[in-house]
Amino acid sequence: MSNLNNHTINERETEQLKDFLVSSSDYYLEQFNQIAQGRKYQLNLAAVLFGPMWAASRNIWQLFWLLAVTDITAFIIIGRSLWGGEMYADASLALGLGILLLCRGIGGCIANLLYHRHFNQWRINPNVQSGTSNQRAGRGLLLIAATYPLTIYRFSVQEVVDFLATFPTSKKIASTTARSIDNAVDWLTITFEDMFDSITWLIRSMLDFLELLFIGTPWPVMALLLLLMAWKSAGWRVVAFTALALAYLGFFGFWDKAMSTMALVGASVFICLSIGAPLGIVAARNPRFNAVLNPILDIMQTMPSFVYLIPAIAFFSVGKPPAVLATVVFAMPPMIRMTTLGIQQVSPSVIEAMEAFGASPRQILFKAQLPLAVPSIMAGINQSIMMSLSMVVVAALIGAGGLGYDVLFSLQHLEAGKGLLAGLAIVLCAMIMDRIIQGHHKSS
């Protein structure tokens, strides 16, 4: 125990430290010894005096930025008290100096601790830069020169020159670029009219069929079917929940709209699955394709959905088909990713065994990889459904109708109650689908 408490730096460590410190090693050896014995906060005068410059020369950049920010704050207050005039009458020189001293003091106290941590990093990886270097100090000085004067000036004078207040913009670049994109969209719309029309037609007929199925089926039959699915896949709890949720949809007059929303979501998810799963399979087997696909998927997921509503309208006009397509763009990435993940997760030893028994790549895919990826693919479908439902309101903007329209309408007319009821209906639709599919995937 006593060994643990009175840990002092041994010879080997001392040699290492000397290599690391390069200059003023006697001082730091003593300081590190103190830290090793548990006295963590020792005042480093050099750090207090030179502040960020010390940190830069010792390569402790987090401390550099910390001290730079506190320095600038203190200098701004000092500047305001000296030349700020009436506008900054409440700034006092004493306060500024006090903040400067206090922060430098704190910096000086933690400096050795941070430096000790830096030493430990250097021990793990000798490529971490150590010692002091004029080059780094110079870099620190440059950064200080670039940030301090302008910032202090900006916040301490009464009238700032225009050049500093706002970024010098060029309106022309933006407008010409936007116009050329407009032109490109126009050109695409006209040139590929037939293609866009046929896609619209395809989606519309699929939607028509699904709506006929969901809305045309008498509500008792539809409800019974949903309850039966819930029973089959997830047991009586989910049946009870589904029954309550359906009762809510019916009694509050959301039945038709809910069914229409479900048809929309169903169409979107079907497209997601039929395009996403094959893409996911290809991506799992072809790393290069995966590398190209990944950033595209990132864009699809992070791009605000309103942004691609615009080209969707341009290419496919308003109504449900463009809403479905916008939803697909948003909801497909998880489908692709989960398929890829599921296939990649299949143990290599299983694949090797398949090969050893003479399986062709095709047999490996269909007899081992895909069946083993099913749970992951199901999770992907689930995600797609949830994301499609989250697009319902947005899609209503371009005429998708359904529950989303009710929410949108109440938003525009400030009818909070009606909006909340419709919102709850969307949530319930999502939960019914989620519970049924999750239950299915757990029980299988």
Binding site: S349, A353, E355, F357, A359, L372
Partner: protein
């Protein structure tokens, strides 16, 4: 078990090299022309030599063990036989067929029909029942369902798993899973079995049971088996012949007795020093030729106990305990040599018996 030296060669590896890395061919050239060591290859070419100039052959019906520690290249070497790994250089022959000359289609066919493989971590398909797992190789060859499931049941009966056909692999213990793996490997009735450390992950008791079960099966079915293991005891129990690998090279090939009594170098000697010799060393290895003995001693042959020339030490000990006179070693009633108590003790110890 075969004793017949004229048996046909079933598997042959000739000067097989496997070097992993982007510059494998250059590295191989460097090894051959400049004689670089593995460390030098690693430094200069950033390549790893996994198998170095391996040559061996396994006879039909033989159980050929490849024994080595982890990283010795034994698993890599065995994957060359069904070309799961392509050699950097060298030839591999199955019967008289050059496995490297096959196209993808032919290769799949030979894997499905001629070579069964058992893996250390079983590698069963977790989403299929035991029966469907065993039927895998037949399914891949489009054998119709009824037939393949029936064969699967027969093979499962061979490994004493009747009644478990409809379970999922995860419901079985490790030893049972490995037996499923064995049944799966035998389903297509292949001529060759490749067994990659099949029993290594099992506890010692189960391992011994499976070894016995496997030996019994192997005797009745007469399949050529390449058996990979890191356990010399296992190799000696199972193998007709053993190849010992170290750092990618085959250090010695021989019968268990040859390996025990005449280790090729210190490395092998170090391995075998703790192995019990009782069941391995035969009378003829430790005996003194009869003429030499009679030149120095008087002996009444008729009063001595006799042992066949291939009797093991265990057998000789039993004789020596009940008789005072030396043991006469016979080959088909013809006396060949004499084993005295001193020779017997030295033989058990493993030293020179004629000191």
């Amino acid at each position: 078990m075969i004793k017949d030296n004229t048996a046909r060669t079933a598997i042959e590896c000739r000067n097989v090299w496997k070097i992993f890395g982007n510059r494998a061919d250059e590295a191989l050239e460097a090894v051959k022309t400049r004689g670089l060591t593995k460390e030098q290859i690693h430094q200069e070419y950033d390549c790893v030599v996994a198998v170095a100039d391996a040559t061996f052959d396994a006879k039909e019906g033989e159980i050929f063990c490849i024994m080595g520690l982890s990283g010795s290249g034994k698993s890599t070497l065995v994957r060359h036989i069904n070309r799961l790994i392509e050699p950097t250089a060298g030839d591999i022959l199955i019967g008289d067929q050059d496995i490297n000359a096959l196209n993808a289609q032919q290769l799949r066919q030979i894997r499905a029909e001629k070579i069964g493989m058992v893996f250390q971590h079983t590698a069963l398909l977790p989403h299929r029942t035991v029966r469907e797992n065993v039927a895998l190789s037949l399914e891949l060859r489009d054998v119709d369902e009824q037939k393949r499931l029936k064969i699967a049941e027969q093979k499962l009966a061979l490994v004493q798993l009747t009644g478990w056909e409809d379970r999922m692999p995860s419901e079985l213990s490790g030893g049972m899973q490995q037996r499923v793996g064995l049944a799966r490997a035998m389903a297509a009735d292949p001529e060759i079995l490749l067994m990659d450390e099949p029993f290594s992950a099992l506890d010692p008791l189960i391992r011994r049971q499976l070894q016995d079960q496997f030996l019994e099966l192997a005797r009745s079915m007469n399949k050529t088996t390449l058996f990979i293991t890191h356990d010399l005891d296992e190799a000696i129990r199972i193998g007709n012949r053993i190849a010992i690998m170290k750092d990618g090279e085959i250090v010695q090939i021989g019968t268990p007795e040859q390996i025990i009594t005449a280790p090729a170098n210190d490395y092998v000697a170090d391995f075998v020093k703790d192995i019990s010799r009782l069941k391995l060393v035969s009378a003829q290895t430790i005996m003194e030729p009869l003429a030499n003995y009679l030149a120095l001693h008087d002996l009444d042959l008729s009063s001595c106990p006799t042992a066949p020339h291939d009797a093991d030490l265990d057998y000789l000990i039993n004789l020596a305990v009940t008789h005072d006179s030396p043991i006469i070693v016979n080959d088909q009633q013809v006396p060949l040599g004499v084993v005295t108590k001193r020779q017997l003790l030295r033989g058990i110890q493993g030293g020179n018996t004629n000191e």
